[in-house]
Amino acid sequence: METAGAGLSAVFPSPALALGYSGVVALLLLGTLAAALLPRLDPARFADLPARVRTWWILFAVAGGALLAGWAVFTLVLAAISYIAVREFVSLAPTRKEDRGAVLFVYASVAISYGAVFADSYAAFLVIAPIYIFVGAAVLLSLAGRPEGFLTTAGVLQFGVIVCVYFTGHLALLMRVPAEELGPSGPAGLVFLVLLATQAGGVADYVVQTLAAPDAAPGTSLRGRLAHGVVSAGAFIALAPVFSPLQTWQAVVVGIGLPVWALCGDQVVRAMRRELGVQSTSLLLPGHGGALDRLAGLAFAAPWCFHMIAFFALERY
């Protein structure tokens, strides 16, 4: 028992975070049980549930493992996710035959932006994507030697950089908050809180949607969105005293805003999919769709969480 305790404390920064992980595992086990039973009752309605739950396990293993491995590994994993999301985006969005060099530069922007996180330079991170990557991509596009489509492609590439790299990268910045500023769970606890609150909202939406209105896709009904908002905000406000330095009223402000931003992200990516005429941004995550589909809500919520937590409670930023 003592060795088990020592092992746990070697892996988890605090008993609270170990408990948090156990909670997620319990939910996933519940999901696995549901995925084993529900398709037998109603095969059509729960057809994608087993794949969806399997993918959740993988996502939890990747994100949870990266959080425990510290900010450097987490930043690398997040950079890889940003890269995959950018690639899904430029593969669907309109680009020109001549623009392969500019697209390659946009991939490089992932390395440059996360490089600023590695260099621990918040100021550099803030200006790289909106100014320097924008200029670099626009100049490369202008050198393509083809006048038509320039503005469209410049706008398209910048959209991808802002959502997939700039927004998402704020999570990596949160991981670099010094442990002294935070409770025993440290920055891993803080990011765990944000991840849990956003993803719980998506799960609540799916559950309500599938049980109440199986014909409509998740994220398209008012009921689903309400469930998303209530569960997401509730999870954040309830767990903020444990994992964040926020006071209760501050946690209420951040927690209520969080699902609003996440739903904005889902809405924007849905509009994008509609224009491009696809159901999902790729088939990477069975039962969910593409990386960008899964990331959208989190990406849009990340700057809000970062700015508000920094404003209320962090010396570092």
Binding site: L92, T95, R100, V278
Partner: protein, 214 residues
């Protein structure tokens, strides 16, 4: 030597090629259950890029790798001893001599099908223009005629022509789509066979996500 080379190929597939294809390039496969689980079989796909062979090889489980043979032009891939070794032992490629009309060009392929292998064939014979379907050569029909028990699986590949088009050295990742159609067998007539193959691959094209590549 052969056992070692095969092990090397399986390790290469599992540790390098497949992670590279799935994570760096990004591949969406539709209709995977239509793939042949054993030979003799022919997988026929459109051809835009060297990436195409990689995408097709990555579709198969590593235990089938011994049987999976990309058919490659001898004059291009077996030119130097090094590229020849790489093509034969790493890719498991089967050389076809396009230029030599006096020899029986298809004998090697036919023998491979008799051994129960799975041939990967690009009926266009060359990579052509990026993301455009060129004319099909009829060698595949003559081969199917000589090995009528081999199932033909049509595959449409989209996006590889953006990743690495012919004539470009700039490798640029884009998501690719691999759409596997239902297999069919030799129908008794070369012309009808070619029409059917082309129609099958063109029909798969409509299942691919829209390509906004202006």
């Amino acid at each position: 030597m052969a056992g070692f080379a095969l092990m090397l190929r399986r390790l290469l597939l599992v540790l390098i090629l497949r992670p590279f294809a799935w994570l760096v390039i990004g591949v969406d496969v539709r209709g995977r259950r239509n793939l042949p689980a054993s030979g003799p079989a022919i997988v026929a796909a459109n051809h835009n890029s060297h990436i195409d062979t990689l995408l097709l090889i990555c579709l198969f489980p590593s235990r089938l790798l011994r049987q999976v043979r990309p058919v490659a032009a001898a004059d291009h891939f077996f030119k130097t001893p090094l590229s020849s070794w790489f093509a034969r032992h790493v890719l498991g490629a089967l050389p076809v001599e396009r230029a030599n009309a006096r020899r029986d060009m298809l004998a090697g392929c036919e023998a491979a099908l008799k051994r129960g292998e799975i041939l990967l064939i690009f009926p266009e014979g060359t990579r052509g223009e990026a993301e455009e379907l060129g004319d099909f050569k009829t060698g595949i029909a003559r081969l199917a005629e000589r090995a009528p028990d081999a199932a033909i699986t049509p595959v449409y590949l989209q996006g590889a022509g953006r990743v690495l088009p012919r004539g470009s050295r700039l490798f640029t990742p884009f998501n690719c789509a691999v759409i596997v159609g239902e297999p069919f067998t030799w129908c008794g007539d070369r012309k009808a066979f070619m029409t059917r193959l082309r129609a099958a691959i063109e029909a798969l094209k409509s299942d691919a996500p829209p390509l906004r590549w202006l």
